[in-house]
Subunit: 590 residues, 2 copies
């Protein structure tokens, strides 16, 4: 049996020098360890996603081909499979094939070209790649026969996907006609909710169905809002998982008998998530959520040359969760939590912010806003004597002013410190309906929880308090009080207005979001849907109608804000992140 | 000869009710005028671009088909060509064909499906559409034979494009085998630099080559950063332009002999722009630039329900040009220009801002910043005693603070007024290299000049002063002084630092941008390029190398800012607008 190395690397799109050096280093390692073959992910040399960069910076293409030659020269005594963007050199075709070169003893002996090109959600393969019409030839190494698939090529098994199969051909079926002993799948497969469940079931069923070994090598890394989890693995001919590389880490695994360590996954990552089981408890999805965001933060900061983060601590849920995630991802000493109370901030909130910072051991500072709010209010007051307004004091102006002043201070602090990014603490529920302030909580260099809904954040908070080494870092009150930005007083109650008063219960909102994103539910579908929330909270048809209407009205108006959200991490099956969902600002969904 | 109506309409993507009513109204008008046939643009019923909205809001598809039936029922006694998204109803295919239905006497008698799908720049047809493999059948009306093309179908004439033809088939050639008397091209063709030159030459040459009448009906409107100019037209069999509808306006033209009024174009819109003629004078492109942006502003505001704009007036070039454009697009009474001087703002700048506002007759207000800057400085000073910084006073913190405070005031003012948007005044040159402040001049509900370089803005300023009814609205000093945000004092000179001191001459920068965008020039190409700037300003190789290096270094770091630029209007052949150019934040171009 051949000794095989799985090189689960983390390339940078367009950085040919960096990527090729990494590939060459891995090949050397593999050779030193006596490997017969080394396998790299899809597009390992170019890095993925690379977007349009090659159009404006054409030299990337020639540099990639030169690097491919240099890598080929390193393959004496070893076989290497390296993903690259292969120019089609045909004006009638898209610029590239998405190819895997099989190199051996200084020569390219085979090229496998991707056949199925995904073009949905975050994928835009058709913009860049020409689909190959031919089944790649299998290759032999020491009597063993190998067939190559490139990512999506493995995702059209008709006995698995049944009516959801979206392509007419099944490259696996066609490849298997050449009777390989082993299938190799080179991938750049982004991680998200329930994806691992599909991959595991699918790959295992293919291995079993055809009685073939199945090796999957996936890119690891974060780019353009997507996290690639790695988690490369091998299934034997019975479909049994026999080796699994690390998740959210580079890894380099060598196996001489297609067996090895099975690294553990984030808890629940491999579970299925079904619409009929929707609840706001998010069981099984919290560890994955936590680790995906941590990985996204680490990667974004590292790849952009940042080390520190500064964020506002309001004593509320969003900023508390962000602080924990940042402290865990970047180290507590690198985090500055700034409490910026205004006159209407409660003592409880101030205390909660401080306690959280102390619990986490992050740097903490309180900057009361009043000294700056008052002159600004005066400036606006005199302005509004000239620019007449009839809604002042009833409007959101002063609320937003507070939020924007806070962001201004955070950006000022980050300006002053090298390698420090300000953090946008907006969550998904609020971003969805535009209940987030432009240049305020929506503003920052990175938005860690922009794809996590409010009810999931509550669940995540409880999970973090229970499961981190340091228990109960988030004050209990933060997890119990109704969310609200403490920006405005309700004149009737004299208390600050909570968000649910202005919008609708988060449990209800988050369920709307789930069914719109995952099932394409429209107004009528939602009206007929039996909400989880309704089980314990009887609501009238009028209320239900009003909330659903409000959702569509507010989310239509919020599209502008979706377009200027800072970079984030796609966590759910779907999102409002423009890398994944594209709604023009001028468009109508009713 | 048939009497034909060209319905150059302005639909809204996804608003089936609005679009179908508009289509039905036009059909009624055409019938009342005795027309035999009425032609609508590509995707007239769905509106374009519609992005992913049908994925989350599936009911749009059924509503569109129902509306198509209702429209069909209106076609007694007339033939109507209506573009729509035709579901393929085949899991193996993309969701839609991009089709034109030919309706007659209450029935659909023919469907033409788009064959060539563009997938470059702003186009993403392959994400949504299945390319048709068949040549549409021609149809007859009162003895005249018509063949239908859908936009890109007409853009692969090999004698015209020669080596630049990017598809193997030419749908025009194939369609002409059926000997139609007239070709009808239903389009959604976005307007941009030099595009009209290509369209005019191409359509004319096709008409002449085949001896066929050529009717082009284009969508008009603005959506998702793109402006569609309309400018529908007819060429006779000799290739002569014999009718042209209005530009940047809805129009409804009826012709009984394929002849009619030839409306004038914005000056220079139909001129070619060649790399070898690059200069920073932008001859022939200023009237088009002015009218494209005006149209974009009008459309964006109207379609989003806004009427008024508020912007900061610094007395500098960017804000002055924006004020003129806004006043002309929305009416002077709807514009508020706010001068927000800090302590280092010169009297000249303050005066220039005021004079401009008076000249334009827009509303004007001065809000000095000092009262708010001082407490904020104090807050930051005390903060920095705790969060140690060694670069304070040497940093950009206080400069940026001024810019952010200005944006905060503008957003506050817009918050207080219904239908008022704050304006981001960033220009293209500065956005390119990241010389624009997040939450500062980069922030707003709309960015009118984000695709206009600085040297072009100078030219545009001179053009506006000469060509608007009201001469010299922009004070001469604004067009003469070196650009700079007046945010910082140069300790050596005691004067505010101008932007070119910190970056490089704008003439040089803008030429780099032009050749990177249009020719894909890399570092070496630029170093070998003979800059227009060098003709009159001898520079050393060291300077040249340093500037080119600086451009790549700064623009790499600016990609984050490109991703959060507010909506704008694509003006140049290429841009950094993410609707048109996609560069992941984590990517490398060196």
């Amino acid at each position: 049996m051949n000794k095989i190395a799985l090189a689960q690397i983390n390339p940078i799109a367009g950085n040919i020098k960096f990527n090729s050096q990494k590939i060459i280093d891995c090949i050397k390692d593999a050779k030193q360890n006596g490997a017969d073959m080394i396998i790299f992910p899809e597009l390992a040399l170019m890095g993925y996603p690379f977007g349009d960069i090659f159009i404006r910076h054409k030299s990337i293409i020639t540099r990639q081909l030169k690097a491919l030659e240099e890598i080929t020269a390193q393959t004496s005594g070893i076989t290497a499979l390296v993903g690259f963007a292969e120019p089609t050199c045909d004006a009638d075709k898209k610029p590239f094939y998405n190819s895997v070169a099989v190199m051996q003893n200084g020569k390219i002996i085979n090229i496998a070209r991707k056949r199925l090109l995904p073009n949905y959600s975050e994928f835009n393969d058709y913009r860049y790649f020409e689909p190959s019409k031919e089944t790649p030839k299998i290759f032999e190494l020491n009597g063993e026969k190998y067939g190559i698939l490139v990512c999506e090529d493995s995702f059209n098994d008709k006995s698995f996907f049944k009516d959801d199969a979206i392509y007419s051909i099944d490259p696996v079926e066609e490849l298997m006609r050449q009777n390989p002993d082993t299938l190799i799948n080179c991938s750049c497969s982004p991680s998200r909710c329930a994806k691992e469940f599909i991959k595991n079931s699918l790959f295992s069923s293919i291995a079993k169905k055809y009685g073939v070994n199945y090796i999957y090598v996936n890119q690891v890394g974060y780019a353009d809002n997507l996290s690639f989890d790695g988690t490369s693995r091998i299934y034997d001919k019975s479909g049994k998982l026999v080796l699994r590389a690390k998740t959210f880490e580079e890894d380099f695994v060598i196996t001489s008998d297609l067996n090895g360590e099975i690294n553990t996954l984030p808890t629940g990552m491999d579970k299925e998530i079904k619409p009929e089981e929707f609840s706001t408890e998010y069981k099984n999805d919290l560890d994955r959520t936590y680790k995906s965001i941590m990985f996204g933060i680490k990667e974004y900061f590292r790849k952009n040359g940042f080390k520190k983060a500064v964020l506002g601590l309001s004593g509320g849920l969003d900023s508390s969760i962000c602080a924990v995630l940042l402290a865990d991802a970047l180290g507590k000493d690198n985090i500055w939590g700034i409490s910026m109370p205004s006159r209407i901030t409660s003592k409880e909130s101030k205390d909660d912010a401080k306690i959280l910072a102390e619990n986490l051991g992050i740097n903490f500072l309180e900057i009361p806003l009043a000294d700056a709010i008052d002159p600004l209010k005066n400036m606006l007051n005199s302005a509004f004597k000239i620019i007449k307004t009839d809604k002042y004091e009833k409007s959101t102006t002063i609320e937003n002013l507070q939020a924007r002043l806070r962001a201004t201070l955070l950006w000022s602090i980050s300006n002053e410190h090298k390698q420090m990014l300000p953090i946008a603490t907006s969550d998904k529920s609020e971003a969805y309906i535009g209940y987030a302030t432009v240049n305020g909580d929506m503003s920052g260099g990175f938005a860690p929880i922009a794809d996590v809904t409010k009810t999931k954040l509550f669940a995540l908070g409880r999970f973090l308090n229970e499961n981190r080494a340091q228990k109960n870092a988030i004050p209990q009150a933060v997890l119990e009080k109704p969310p609200g930005a403490e920006l405005k007083i309700n004149p009737k109650t004299g208390k600050t207005i909570c968000a649910e008063e202005e919008n609708m219960p988060y449990e209800f909102l988050d369920e709307i979001i789930w069914f719109v994103e995952n099932k394409g539910y429209g107004f009528e579908d939602l009206l007929n849907h039996n909400f989880y929330y309704e089980k314990n909270h009887p609501i009238t048809l009028e209320e239900k109608t009003e909330w659903i209407n409000k959702f569509f009205r507010k989310s239509q108006f919020a599209v502008y804000k979706w377009h200027i959200l800072p970079p984030s991490v796609v966590i759910d099956m779907h999102s409002i992140n423009s890398v994944e969902y594209r709604q023009p600002i001028i468009s109508c969904i009713n």
